[in-house]
């Protein structure tokens, strides 16, 4: 009873709360990091150094009037933010945060589920999220959101292919689709897969930026062109859902990057005996540090680069990233068989 019901339920609650809190503070972190890059202070008013800003933002969004445009497709309009947010949250079910820990005489694994098709699950669930954007743009019955949602869907579909190809090359190395299995494979190999697959990682990172609609690929919500993008007509909590989904997706992309390429909960250079003292730091802290690093990279890029144009983005995806990713898969396959 305890092991099959209560512990999983507790884990689900903890993961959800942690992710939502993480998202809230990621927004603050983004504002702070970008402010520092731009020689500003960022939020300073709500709490010391603005640390209560997410609470204030949340309250504000919660209390705002929720407007549905008169000519919107009411049901689809309501469903879209939910379709956007839910996949972004349930992906966390298979992301392993760390090794097993012992608590109160119980062995608790630091992941909600270790299914044998974990990676496939992530890819398929994450791609449902795009429906949220398409439907939001379509149901708003407004021109800017429509343009934006067309951009979003084209962009997500084209980058999904390249990203999935890079995952295939990792699977070829690990020989398993299970997220935990992939980390174990990296421990057995004694090397983070980043060092075996640098090209795949680069493509994954670029594709990840594009898939989460982050700068420099933030075309769907390019406010200088399309005002607010697909969520132009949304307000209040529904708007917040899109926001949560976007930042949750950033965490997912970072988490998957950390798991697949940077050894998940493993300390750096697990094969070097001289560095084995790093094992004193619990695995989940290593994992969180890696995730934070990638999140920082996301923000750093946003503060630095201008935005791509729609056709250039598609060209980069189809003519550069996908051929490279396929070549990488073939090379990896050949190497795995012959070496």
């Amino acid at each position: 009873m305890v092991e099959i019901v209560i512990i999983p339920l507790l884990k689900i609650v903890i993961v959800l709360v942690a992710v939502l809190a993480g998202v809230a503070y990621l927004v603050l972190l983004e504002r702070k990091v970008i402010a520092w890059v731009q020689v500003r202070l960022g939020p300073m008013r709500v709490g010391p150094h603005g640390i209560l800003q997410p609470v204030a933002d949340g309250l504000k969004l919660f209390l705002k009037e929720d407007i549905t445009p008169a000519r919107a497709d009411r049901w689809v309009y309501t469903a879209a933010p939910i379709i956007s947010l839910v996949p972004a949250l349930i992906v966390f079910a298979v992301i392993p945060f760390g090794r097993d820990v012992h608590l109160f005489g119980l062995t608790v694994s630091l992941y909600v589920a270790d299914i044998n098709v974990g990676l496939l699950y992530i890819v398929s669930v994450a791609s449902i999220g795009v429906y949220g954007l398409i439907l939001a743009g379509y149901s708003s019955n407004s021109k800017y959101p429509l343009l934006s949602s067309l951009r979003a869907s084209a962009q997500l579909i084209s980058y999904e292919v390249a990203v999935t190809m890079t995952l295939v090359s990792v699977i070829l190395l690990a020989g398993t689709l299970s997220m935990v299995g992939i980390v174990e494979a990296q421990r057995e190999a004694g090397i983070w897969f980043f060092f075996a697959q640098p090209l795949a990682f680069a493509i994954y990172l670029i594709g990840g930026l594009a898939e989460t609609n982050r700068s420099p690929f933030d075309l769907p919500e390019a406010e200088q062109e399309l005002v607010g993008g697909f969520h132009t007509e949304y307000s209040g909590m529904r708007f917040a859902f899109f926001f949560l989904a976007e930042y949750a997706n950033m965490i997912v992309i970072s988490g998957v990057a950390a798991t697949l390429f940077f050894g998940g909960w493993l300390p750096p250079f697990p094969n070097v005996a001289a560095l084995s003292f790093l094992g004193f730091v619990p695995g989940w802290i290593w994992f969180l540090l890696k995730v934070l690093f990638f999140l920082y990279v996301f923000l750093w890029i946003r503060a630095t680069l201008p935005r791509y144009r729609y056709d250039q983005l598609m060209r980069l995806g189809w003519k550069v990233l996908i051929p490279l990713a396929i070549a990488n898969v073939i090379l990896t396959g050949v190497a795995t068989v012959w070496l």
Binding site: V39, R40, E223
Partner: protein, 373 residues
């Protein structure tokens, strides 16, 4: 569009309305776009949302009061507006301006050019998504505004010139601050260039976008950086020198391709040239009075005159008809650079993508206060 081949599916053009309230139309410009997918088939530029009847207003004010109104046209480059106006009246009346006043006017005009270009670069960069350059440029523009504030007390609408001279002499220590600012700016321009000039994304977004050939640019009546971006050598500071420009050495940068990138490079180079002019002016600043001999009541003799100067946006010209009897102009007409440059927008936008529209609006650097007047 009747001649276009019919596609397999019936497609419609999407008409979308960009502005007058839109984040990147730089004020209240309205562009009605007809889109085929993301491509702009045609567009209509609608102006007039900021029309205040400034020209008519000026015909009911006396000549001294008009300086104040010229501030409100191109409100990010008020000093050059003032300069163009006071020089026109001086020309009309045949007034002699002291050499020191001419030098100070040149310094103010060049500081103004730096401030205006900084604002332009900031908004142009953020239109293309580079948000950090936006804040960096505002940081430097702030320093120029501080200098202006110390000189005349105002930060935006300066009212910094008088017919026949200047209202104030330089505050003590001001020239040192200007020199310090020039040194700072020289370093900061490098920062902008590191972030943009060789940035692959920036190059892809601006190169080959909105190309306008030299003859076309002349035919439309472009002036200022957009004209020089197309490789046409025309800078009023060089060709019909006013203020003290004939005493300084400076280069006029020219573009080759006439695209958005060239217009960007030209304005960046103009930062350096402005610094050069300011330094020469400070070095050679003559002593003497700052006001010439001006009658108590400014009442030009009957006649008309046109005088133009090189504002940061292009050629700003004033045409004034005086009847010789009243203390206000009989006819007051401005040739606004933003308005004339805006005429190129339709031709530039056509055939480009939605994302380029904002790049192009930014690239010609319009200020709606001056377009609509």
């Amino acid at each position: 569009m009747a001649d276009a081949p019919r596609p397999m599916f019936d497609t419609d053009e999407l008409v979308i309305n960009m502005g007058p309230q839109h984040p990147s139309t730089h004020g209240v410009l309205r562009v009605v776009l007809r889109l085929d997918g993301e491509r702009v088939v045609d567009c209509d530029v609608v102006i007039g949302y900021l029309h205040r009847g400034i020209e008519k207003l000026c015909e009911n004010r006396d000549y001294t009061q008009i300086v104040l109104i010229t501030d409100r046209m191109d409100y990010v480059a008020a000093a050059t507006n003032n300069l163009g106006y006071v020089e026109t009246v001086e020309k009309l009346m045949g007034l002699e301006v002291p050499r020191r006043a001419k030098y100070i006017r040149t310094i103010l005009a060049e500081l103004q050019r730096i401030a205006s270009h900084a604002l332009w670069l900031a908004t142009h960069a953020i239109d293309l998504g580079a948000m950090t350059v936006f804040l960096y440029c505002f940081r430097e523009r702030e320093l120029v505004l501080d200098l202006f504030e110390e000189y005349c007390g105002a930060r935006l609408t300066y009212n910094a010139m008088r017919i026949g001279g200047l209202p104030f002499d330089l505050p003590p220590g001001w020239d040192g601050k200007v020199r310090a600012f020039c040194a700072i700016l020289e370093q900061k321009i490098v920062e902008y260039e590191v972030l943009l000039t060789h940035n692959r994304i920036w190059l892809e977004r601006t190169r080959g976008i909105g190309v306008i050939s030299g003859p076309d640019a002349v035919a439309i009546g472009l002036s200022g950086p957009p004209l020089r971006g197309s490789g046409v050598m025309r800078d009023i500071r060089k060709h019909e020198p006013y203020a003290a420009y004939d005493e300084f050495e400076f280069d006029v940068p020219l573009g080759l391709a006439g695209d958005t990138y060239d217009r960007y490079l030209i304005r960046i180079e103009e930062f350096y040239q402005s610094i050069r002019i300011i330094r020469q002016a400070l070095d050679g600043l003559p002593e003497g009075p700052i006001m010439g001999k001006v009658p108590r009541l400014i009442k030009p003799p009957a006649g008309e005159t046109y005088h133009a100067i090189e504002s940061p946006k292009g050629e700003i010209g004033y045409f004034i008809v005086a009847d010789g009897k009243s203390a206000s102009p009989y006819r007051f007409r401005v040739r606004p650079p933003s308005f004339c440059n805006l005429q190129a927008l339709r031709q530039l936008i056509r055939g480009h993508l939605v994302a380029d529209v904002v790049a192009l609006i930014g690239s010609i650097d319009v200020v709606l206060g001056e377009v609509d007047r």
